[in-house]
């Protein structure tokens, strides 16, 4: 069951909603210059959509489709059945696998993990939905590491985000988002190695942070994961596949 906390401030016509434990983290959304009722409906439909995908892709929920697929794979079963939704996710993952020359791969070590893709893809979907419904200024935030900015801050010309050094808390860089997205990948203190180089199966252990911005949130998400795992020599080539995307590397924190 999703716990959500919805706030509306009528003076500034701003809606804020926070849902804990969505895609393994906290999801926050801020909509400006909007009516309360419209905001509630929009937020609910976005949460519902992401929640449905989460129950498909959550590796920690044994009843999710991904978990069932992974246990079937572990038991070397043949003829796996994919739902229509899952097929779409696999197609999207395949698109990015090809685009990154195999560096980004949701399938490694005999199981599926959509962790490096799902949040970005959800942000992309949510941003599109908001635009379609006439919302021009909003900020969407998955756990502080995947953020999409629609339009701009009402008192600035963009949304600006400081990215902290996870080891010291100092600001590494400040990013401007204006109809664009940010994805930060890295190793936090005591929790290194959650990104795996899918080509050699090794965990990326260096104290490194990669900050990526792109117009498309899913591109940003995939690229930050891929760049974290890629050898330095392949960074330029990867970036060239994503025109408009930019990356900043903090390699020896």
């Amino acid at each position: 069951m999703l716990t959500k906390d919805f706030t509306y401030e009528s003076e500034s016509r701003t809606a804020y909603c926070c849902a804990e434990k969505l895609m393994g983290t906290r999801f926050e959304i801020l909509l400006t210059d909007i009516e309360k009722r419209a905001a509630e409906l929009l937020v609910d439909s976005i949460l519902e959509h992401i929640g449905a995908d989460d129950s498909l892709l959550n590796r920690f929920d044994p009843s999710s489709e991904v978990s069932r697929l992974n246990s079937a794979l572990a038991a070397s079963k043949r003829g796996l059945a994919f739902s229509e939704q899952m097929t779409k996710w696999c197609e999207l993952a395949e698109h990015y696998r090809a685009k990154t020359g195999g560096i980004f791969n949701v399938r490694y070590g005999g199981s599926y993990d959509f962790g490096g893709l799902a949040k970005g893809a959800e942000l992309e979907w949510a941003a599109r939905t908001l635009r379609d419904r006439g919302v021009h200024n909003a900020l969407l935030n998955f756990g502080g590491s995947s953020i999409a900015g629609l339009g701009r801050h009402p008192y600035g010309d963009a949304w600006t985000v400081d990215v902290p050094d996870p080891f010291s808390g100092h600001t590494l860089c400040t990013v401007r988002l204006c109809d664009s997205a940010l994805s930060v990948s890295g190793n936090t203190p005591g929790y290194g190695g959650h990104i795996v180089d899918t080509q050699n199966g090794e965990r990326v252990l260096s104290r490194r942070v990669v900050v990526v911005t792109a117009l498309n949130p899913a591109d940003a998400e995939v690229l930050s994961t891929a760049l974290m795992a890629a050898p330095c020599g392949r960074r330029a080539e990867l970036l060239a596949e994503f025109p408009g995307a930019e990356a900043q590397f903090f390699d020896n924190l």
């Binding site: 804020y16 926070c18 801020l30 935030n141 502080g144 600006t160 400081d162 990215v163 808390g169 990948s185």
Partner: protein, 436 residues
């Protein structure tokens, strides 16, 4: 070169916004005023200082002194030829002594820097004060409780300045950390947790077996009080600083767990110091595993300051939600950047706490592995302030008292471990400075 330390110092005081309030709370910082140093050295020239004890720490001080414009090292003393010669190579025109008593007779010397093994700190300090010298002594204050008392009393009688090399008192991240803790940064201080782990035997190579006790003095009780005075001393001082009190009792267990090489001091200690209000310092040191390194944690009801790293963590971290900050901006019609959380936010792990820096800009952090401290840990500032005192003749406030409190607590900890009893702070070693 000569400018390095003075500039650094000016920067340090400015960055901390060392106003009247800070100087009132930490009066020893008054001696760090660059204006004072400049005025003094313009009027009276350099401080003429001598180094007693030319081993590893003594030589480290010589490297710092080279960069202090208002200091001149005029004499060196060490009965151990090898170290005396090594130091003489760094300061070729210094006079050389093998007995500190002859050095103290030299009237051209304003002040002495004592970097000898702990067992001789008290004797040399008292003799130097009585010989009319300003004194800078390495921590800890002394090997025994009675010696601490003797030093304290000699200082009360003396018009001279006495400094102790307790770097944390001069380290910007500690100063700023304690200041903010007192302003409520982490709520009520409810406890302290300090440790120092290393994986090394603490031994130095000995050219001749007859020199074993002299060179490896840290391992023998006639010269050393072991891990407590060598390591814990710095950390207990910080706890008292945060608690604004002195513990009333201590219990602990000490053992030689791994380095059974003939040493007499513990290589593993675990102690609990208790303040009158029930708050506790949990202290641990072990030198056969270094995973936990060194930490000085002040635990508050609302957060934790890890002063070693110069960061703090909040229990309920609203600042992490940049989005909540945005809501406030909409309300106030302002614009600003919001912080993203660190990458891969993970709930419910110790490491999911977000670190916030205690001071702006870069800072030096010593993980505790080195014998000689990290650069700019404060040692340079203390030496510089000491040299200023050698010129102005001004005493420094609170340093002797802090060193006395910290050393006595170390020695009481050893007493508790040696006797396997809960030791109550003895009346005869209380001084007016202490609040219980």
């Amino acid at each position: 070169m000569a400018e390095t330390i003075d500039n650094g110092k000016r920067q340090f005081l400015k960055e901390l916004g060392a106003g009247a309030a800070l100087l009132a709370a930490m009066p020893w910082l008054k001696a760090c005023s660059p204006e004072k140093t400049e005025a003094a050295s313009q009027a009276r020239g350099q401080a003429r200082v001598a180094l007693i004890g030319c081993g590893s720490r003594g030589q480290y001080h010589l490297t710092i002194l080279r960069d202090i414009a208002h200091a001149r090292v005029v004499a060196l003393c060490d009965p151990y030829e090898v170290n005396l010669r090594a130091a003489a190579a760094m300061v070729p025109d210094a006079k050389l002594f093998s007995d500190y008593r002859s050095l103290l007779e030299d009237r051209s010397i304003d002040g002495v820097i004592i970097a000898t093994p702990l067992g001789s700190h008290a004797r040399i300090t008292v003799d130097a004060l009585e010989a009319g010298k300003h004194v800078f002594c390495e921590k800890a204050m002394a090997l025994t409780l009675d010696e601490c008392k003797a030093v304290y009393e000699a200082y009360q009688r003396s018009p001279k300045a006495l400094y102790y090399c307790m770097q944390r008192m001069y380290d910007p991240k500690y100063i700023e950390g304690i200041r903010q803790i007192r302003e409520g940064l982490i709520g009520d201080v409810v406890g302290m947790r300090c440790h120092w782990f290393r994986n090394a035997d603490w031994r130095r190579p000995v050219p001749d077996p007859s020199l074993e006790r002299q060179i490896n003095w840290r391992l023998y009780k006639e010269h050393s009080a072991g891990l407590m005075t060598e390591l814990a001393c710095h950390q207990l001082e910080i706890c008292n600083w945060a608690a604004e009190k002195i513990p009333v009792e201590v219990a602990g267990l000490g053992d030689i767990v791994y380095w059974k090489d003939g040493r007499e001091v513990y290589d593993s200690v675990s102690l609990t110091y208790r303040y009158s209000d029930g708050r506790k310092i949990t202290y641990e040191s072990l030198i056969s595993n270094k995973y936990n390194a060194m930490e000085d944690q002040i635990l508050g009801k609302k957060g934790t300051a890890d002063l070693t790293r110069g960061v703090y963590y909040l229990e309920e971290d609203d600042t992490v939600s940049g989005m909540k900050q945005l809501l406030a901006q909409m309300r106030d019609k302002t614009f600003g950047a919001i912080p993203a959380a660190g990458p891969s936010w993970r709930p419910e792990l110790r490491n999911s706490y977000t670190p916030h820096p205690l001071i702006k800009g870069p800072q030096s952090v010593n993980g505790g592995q080195n014998m000689v401290s990290a650069d700019h840990d404060g040692s340079d500032l203390i030496l510089s302030a000491f040299c200023t005192s050698c010129i102005t003749g001004e005493k420094v406030e609170n340093v002797v008292e802090e060193a006395y409190c910290a050393t006595v607590l170390c020695l009481l900890g050893n007493l508790a471990m040696d006797t396997k009893t809960v030791v109550t702070f003895p009346e005869e070693y209380k001084i007016p400075y202490m609040k219980f």
